[in-house]
Amino acid sequence: MAMPALTAEAETAAATTPAAEVLVFKPRTPGFIQARLIPMLGDAAAKVIPPLVMLTLLLVVWELLCNKPGATLPPPTKIWTEAYDLIVDPFFVAGPQDIGLGWRVLTSLQRVAIGYGLAGFIGILIGTIIGQSVWAMRGLDPIFQVLRTISPLAWLPISLAAFRDSQPSAIFVIFITAVWPIIINTAVGIRNIPQDYRNVAAVLRLNHLEFFWKIMIPSAAPYIFTGLRIGIGLSWLAIVAAEMLTGGVGIGFFIWDAWNSSRIPDIVVALAYIGMVGFVLDRIVAAVGNVVTRGTTAT
């Protein structure tokens, strides 16, 4: 698995978004507003307006489709009225089980943080070890390629059988979903360390630890971050499956619970939350990757 187009897309995103905010607060030259601010606002508008237009269009179509009697799903207007409290205030607390979705997302994020953190740590570790050996790579890569296609839901029973407790099982499901691309990408990154860098290390007589920190990790960093970025997406995908087990206050369990009590509008709102949080997580990992690997990709 070489580096996919993810990186290029992420670069543009990271390059444009923060610049707009930073510069607005520091006008440096008199002609600044005309010269820089207006084109910049124009750029921002070009980025923000089309998605908003499309969103509105989609909502209208949805409204039209679901607003007739006999429709199985609620139209946006109905969701707005029925799930009003969930939409407007993410952080209300009205009772032990009646809290804003923001709180639920935070609980879920905690779980994902543990599972994903483990996946990142162990994935990079195993990937580094495997990447050093041609035979380990040849033997394990096909196995990992098969394992990585297994859905989080399918891991549930195995995980429960192994841990016999819901909390570690949930974290394990997140871990096991996210870890494969991290292992695979790290291993490929380590394999692809150019012979030139190895030669430099050999001439300098870097020891194993120095070689690991000064050559391996930076050289493989773009690959590692590709893996980490796929991994964060997958671990967030796994949250609903994982929280079917745990119960409590997570966003995943909320969906399960809402389904069991037929609160379809609540589910729709929760989906929107999940989507947006997933998007933000992805961008965060991409941005971190961009900062860490700057300069590393080109030769």
């Binding site: 030139d196 860098y197 030669n199 430099v200 050999a202 001439v203 300098l204 007589r205 870097l206 120095e210 000064k214 050559i215 930076p218 050289s219 960093a221 690997t293 700057r294 300069g295 590393t296 990709t297 080109a298 030769t299």
Partner: protein, 264 residues
């Protein structure tokens, strides 16, 4: 002439699966302290292989490499290499690339301040101090080679190994760098072994030129002394009889007696 670096009856056979490629056959040569020796030969004859053997990056099949009468068979900073393709670490700035080498070679021997001084000194030597905070991606090919040279010089190697250091550069940049290398060699008196396939470069820079025959199983076909006084200036040399004679000899070797045959 006392042999500072000695390459003693070196054979090199690459074995890949059941296929054996004999690249070097019975190569013997020596380099005196402070001498500048060039190795010239057609592409693919085994020049890089020979240099890598001296660097310790490639093991010999038979024979030995001796430095100050000690056998060397693993890489080390006493034989610093400027690689064919610069091999700078792209995530480090020019300064940090050199500093990495300085820190490794002089850790425990020099203080932090001294190591910083030494790093800057070497960057100044190759006229790269102004770009010390640039990353390799942000500087030109010639500048990259300069940084690579600074990194190698900073290790205070006993022998400096240059693998076609200017091969990928345009003629003007190349001339510039050749002048820099000559100036540094005059100033520091390093022992240098340089690979090239450029006849003018070999004659201009070297005290001796070692000519290799074509592979497979390349050996040293001829060794030519270049009795030109230093410092040498390229403009004056272009009409110098000794220069032209040396140049002629190398050309004859390369294009008449061992003209390049494209290997099947």
């Amino acid at each position: 002439m006392t042999a500072y670096l000695k390459i003693d009856h070196v054979d090199k056979v690459f074995i890949r699966g059941s296929r054996e490629t004999e690249v070097l056959k019975n190569v013997t040569m020596s380099v005196a302290r402070g001498e500048f020796v060039s190795i010239i030969g057609h592409s693919g004859c085994g020049k890089t292989t020979l240099l890598n053997i001296v660097a310790g990056l490639t093991p010999v099949t038979t024979g030995a490499v001796l430095l100050e009468n000690q056998e060397v068979n693993e890489p080390g900073p006493d034989r610093a290499v400027v690689f064919q393709n610069h091999s700078l670490l792209p995530w480090l700035t020019a300064y940090d690339n050199v500093r990495l080498a300085v820190d490794k070679v002089f850790s425990g021997k020099r203080s932090r301040a001294e190591r910083h001084q030494w790093t800057m000194h070497n960057l100044e030597l190759v006229q790269m101090a102004h770009a010390k905070d640039k990353r390799p991606t942000e500087i030109s090919g010639g500048m990259k080679q300069r940084v690579g040279l600074a990194r190698a010089l900073a290790m205070e190697p006993k022998v400096l190994l240059l693998d076609e250091p200017f091969g990928a550069l345009d003629a003007l940049t190349r001339a510039h760098l050749q002048d820099s290398v000559m100036a540094i060699h005059t100033k520091l008196g390093n022992t240098v072994m340089m690979i090239t396939h450029d006849v003018d470069e070999a004659v201009l820079l070297s005290d001796r030129i070692v000519m290799m025959t074509n592979g497979p199983a390349a050996y040293i076909g001829e060794v030519l002394d270049v009795p030109l006084a230093r410092p040498r200036r390229r403009l004056e040399l272009s009409s110098n009889a000794t220069y032209l004679r040396c140049r002629q000899r190398v050309l004859e070797f390369l294009y008449e007696r061992h003209s390049f045959v494209e290997a099947a």
